[in-house]
Amino acid sequence: GIQVEQSPPDLILQEGANSTLRCNFSDSVNNLQWFHQNPWGQLINLFYIPSGTKQNGRLSATTVATERYSLLYISSSQTTDSGVYFCAVDLLIQGAQKLVFGQGTRLTINP
C-alpha cells in the first residue's frame, strides 16, 4: 500500500520562529489534507490541497503532486501552534475514497 512519511518527527522551536513540515507519499493520490491535533486531542482541518499553494493567516501549504510531496509552513510561531501535525492522502481504494495518515510531526513552541 501507499506509504506516507512525515518529517521531522519532532520539532522544538522558540516563539516567533518559522518552520517547515514535510509530507512525502509513495504513489499518486487524489488529494491531500493537513490537520492540527491540539494538546486536547482535537483534530482541526488546516488545508485541503491537491496541488498548488494555499494560505491561511500565518499558515500556508504547498503540494507538488507530480513529485509526491507537500509542505506546511508556519510563520511567526505561537505557543498555541503546539501539537501534532498530520498529513493524510486521499485515495480511491476498492471504489471508495479513503484517507491514509502519516505518523505526524510533533511541534513544541516554547515561550
Binding site: 493524510a88 475514497q97 484517507l99
Partner: protein, 115 residues
Amino acid sequence: NAGVTQTPKFRILKIGQSMTLQCTQDMNHNYMYWYRQDPGMGLKLIYYSVGAGITDKGEVPNGYNVSRSTTEDFPLRLELAAPSQTSVYFCASSYTGYAGYNEQFFGPGTRLTVL
C-alpha cells in the same frame, strides 16, 4: 451546525464487556468513517460507510462492528473488549459528491481504556 458529535468522551471497560460508541453528523454528508489512534501514532481506518445501509471494512476491522441505518448516525460496536482496543476513537464524515473530493471533518474523539 454541530458538525460531528461523539459520545461518550471517555469510557473504561473491563475485558469481555461490550459497548457502542455513538457518532452523529448534521452536515448531510454521505460518507462516514471510524478511526482509531494509538499513542504516538497516526489514525487507522476501522470501518467506513458510503451511505445509509452500506458499510465496509477498513484497515483494522477485527473486534468491531458497524451499522448505518440513517444518513446522520454511524455507531461503532465493540464486542468482547480486549486491552488491545485501548485507544482514542474518532468518527469523521465527508461529502464525496464528485470524483476526488473528500474533505473529512472529525468529531472530538472517545478515549477508551480496557482493563
